[in-house]
């Protein structure tokens, strides 16, 4: 099947998902991000790679934090950044998604960073650009529905590589609401592609998609068993609306069984790192003593995220 993320030469032209990307491209992104880490430490935090290019942040769903990190990354690449809060403008007036895209193409956009509540929306945009012959415009998925959040997945990989050096001997656990998590899906595909031998998913059956095992994941309902001897623990955010209802009885019961406490973390390897895509619910999925503890690498994740997004934007716009 035609891979919509790659151009005819097999290079990355859109970043839509970590699924289906060759290991070499994932590694290229991580290596490029590493070279950008130094830029953020400079007094003048800029490189001219995207000078004169226009990056449109199209957030059909609000997310100040993600949008900000993309904005910073684009500005450090010297791009012009236009933030569009579409949720409140055009679509509210009945304009279709692709009409909005056509309009922005006419404004000479070079790169769209897209956040959308529906799984697959960035694919629709990429396919549309191909159909109208605009292969000079690139799409970076900043989170679509439950499907994918590839830059978050990649920054998680960057973080793991930074602390653990090698993927080939790791045991990684992803804990929580995997069913609704685009981060979890992007992490799973990236981890398996990069050669992590054991990826575990931990959560109650109500928060796990069916057939998760087909994605190469070992499923655990018992958090103690799942955390045993892990090198990396990735905690997921539990959305407020899922805490009380048919999926879970209460935030309290969830925390008792699936919240990461120092006692539970002690079951993982002593040098295990703890990650979280943010924003955290302290006392729901993670205990403050862990979130603020020596094994947490949650804030470095945010820093790495800027470099990873710089890498992704410079690579797709450069291809």
């Amino acid at each position: 099947m035609h891979n919509p993320q790659l151009n005819d030469r097999g290079e990355l032209t859109h970043l839509l998902s970590t699924e289906g990307l060759p290991r070499a491209i994932l590694t290229q992104i991580l290596d490029t991000a590493e070279s950008f880490m130094e830029v953020s430490a400079r007094e003048v935090k800029k490189v001219p790679l995207l000078r004169g290019k226009s990056v449109f942040n199209l957030f059909f769903e609000n997310s100040t934090r993600t949008r900000t990190t993309f904005e910073i990354a684009a500005k450090r690449l010297s791009a012009d950044v236009i933030n569009l809060d579409i949720g409140r403008s055009s679509t509210a007036k009945g304009e279709t998604l692709l009409d909005t895209i056509d309009n922005l193409c006419a404004m000479h956009a070079n790169l769209f960073v897209v956040r959308h509540a529906s799984s697959g929306a960035p694919y629709l945009i990429a396919e549309h650009l191909r159909r109208i012959g605009r292969d000079d415009i690139h799409v970076v998925n900043a989170g679509d529905g439950r499907h994918a959040h590839p830059t978050q997945g990649l920054l998680d990989m960057y973080t793991i590589r930074h602390y653990k050096k090698d993927f080939s001997n790791l045991r990684v656990a992803i804990v929580g609401d995997i069913l609704h998590s685009r981060v979890a899906r992007s992490d799973i595909h990236a981890l398996t592609t990069l050669g992590v031998p054991e990826v575990r998913a931990i959560g109650p059956e109500t928060l796990l998609p069916k057939h998760l095992d087909k994605l190469g994941v070992h499923v655990f309902h018992d958090m103690e068993a799942g955390l045993k001897d892990c090198d990396v623990v990735i905690m997921l955010r539990l959305q407020n609306e899922r805490m009380n209802g048919a999926l879970l009885p209460s935030a309290g019961e969830y925390f008792r069984h699936y919240g990461l406490t120092p006692q539970k973390l002690a079951l993982a390897k002593p040098d295990a790192i703890v990650m979280h895509p943010g924003p955290m619910n302290r006392g729901v999925e993670i205990h403050s003593a862990v979130a603020d503890g020596p094994q947490a690498v949650i804030l470095p994740q945010v820093t790495f995220g800027i470099a990873v997004r710089m890498a992704v934007m410079s690579i797709v716009a450069g291809n």
Binding site: A121, Y123, L124, H128, G145, R146, H147, A148, P209, L212
Partner: protein, 414 residues
């Protein structure tokens, strides 16, 4: 008018007729003879069917006629001579006057026969019964909820009891409301990968189990529409083996496609019920091959704008009337079914479900005839379709089997 159709391969699955290079004689709108000319027959018109199959006109158990003229023209272009129309039109077909108008409009257009299904409940709300006897009198051939589940099981029980009192057949699409209301795709590997909300097989099996029990209790004749799963097929077959007055059909797309055809969010592969696994597809195919299930197009014209949206926002369904025959032929070839057995699934089988005399080339039957070239290839493009619905997962693909002529009641309508 006397019509001679000569040199064709005449196949009538209902009568186990399959004769090469045979003549078929139509007199006054009816089949007069096959093989030897009736005494004194003089043809007003001769159709040379050399290289073609001459079979009963197709009977489609489910096709939406959003723009009735275009869709009825599409029907006869696809060899379909009778179209069963579900009641989920706007407004829903819940009043005798609406059914009457639809039937008359169909006659005026004079292409395929229109066989409406009346709404079982007012507005398809699943609460209050429609005037079933009045709808029947206005021309409805059966009653249905289209694809809207009856949430209230007591309302469903009463509806089946009432329909049984008049011996009216009821078409039901087995789909549990609670398990399907938020779903987008089969609750399987593809939905897990793509992050699409799932519709479990239990949505279908629970509904079938409920319906089967109510059929057992009421004796109402029920036809289950568009089964999608192996487990659903097993339940329906078991109920039929028990001798219950039950039948079922499958949409032709579900015989050929699976959840994997969604690929990267291809909205043309969004169906209701959803495409399921390879094992489910195989079970549906076996049910059709063994003669348990009829095949229908489930023709659902959807405007381009309603497919050029993210997968979960796209309207489900595909255009079907003009691909029912070629896709059935494709399925037959893949499944190793004879041409005659395949044609039975779209002619005599649906006629039997409807309790109609059609779907046959019996002497004296209305001359509803489809003449097609099984070897002719054509490419499915929007321009190739008469239907307003250009939505198809097969766009750009080669189709084998082209309708050359269609007769309804002895009139050449295509």
């Amino acid at each position: 008018m006397n019509i001679l159709i000569e040199n064709g391969r005449v196949i009538d699955p209902g009568q186990a007729v399959d004769r090469e290079a045979t003549s078929l004689f139509v007199v006054a709108g009816r089949i007069a003879a096959i093989g030897e000319a009736p005494a004194g027959f003089v043809a007003d018109e001769v159709i040379d069917a050399a290289g073609c199959v001459v079979c009963p006109g197709l009977i489609d158990l489910g096709a939406r006629l959003n723009s009735i003229e275009a869709e009825l023209a599409a029907a006869v272009a696809g060899g379909v001579t009778s179209v069963v129309v579900p009641p989920d039109a706007d407004p829903p077909l819940d009043e005798p006057e609406l059914a009457d108008r639809l039937v008359h409009r169909g006659r005026e257009i004079g292409k395929a026969r229109v066989l409406p299904l009346g709404a079982l409940t007012l507005g398809l709300q699943g609460e209050r019964l429609s005037e079933l006897a009045g709808l029947k009198k206005a021309g409805c051939v059966a009653f249905s909820q289209a694809k809207v589940p009856v949430v209230d099981t007591e309302a469903l029980l009463r509806a089946l009891e009432y329909a049984a009192s008049f011996a009216f057949p009821v078409f039901l699409h087995p789909q549990n409301h609670w398990l399907s209301r938020n779903g987008i795709a089969h609750d399987g590997e593809v939905a897990a990968r793509l992050g699409l909300a799932g519709i479990p097989v239990a949505a279908e099996t629970i509904a079938i189990a409920t319906i089967v029990q109510l059929v057992r209790d009421t004796g109402c004749r029920v036809h289950l529409t568009r089964l999608s799963s192996a487990a659903g097929v097993a339940l329906a077959k078991a109920a039929m083996a028990e001798g219950l007055p039950l039948s079922f059909d499958v949409g032709v797309h579900h015989l050929l496609l699976t959840e994997n055809d969604i690929g990267f969010f291809n909205t043309h592969a969004r169906f209701q019920p959803p495409l399921r696994t390879q094992a489910d597809r195989a079970a549906l195919s076996a049910a059709a091959a063994e003669g348990f299930a009829a095949i229908c197009s489930d023709h659902t014209p959807v405007g381009a704008d309603d497919k050029l949206v993210p997968f979960g926002e796209a309207k489900p369904g595909a255009t079907g009337l003009e691909v029912l025959l070629p896709l059935t032929l494709k399925w037959a070839e893949q499944a190793g079914i004879s041409l005659s057995a395949a044609l039975a699934r779209i002619t005599s089988a649906p006629a039997a479900i409807l309790g109609l005399a059609g779907g046959s080339l019996a002497i004296g039957a209305a001359a509803d005839i489809c003449i097609f070239d099984p070897a002719a290839e054509w490419q499915l493009t929007p321009e190739a379709l008469k239907s307003r619905g250009k939505n198809s997962p097969w766009l750009g693909c080669r189709m084998s089997g082209k309708v050359r002529r269609t007769l309804v009641g002895g009139r050449i309508v295509y």
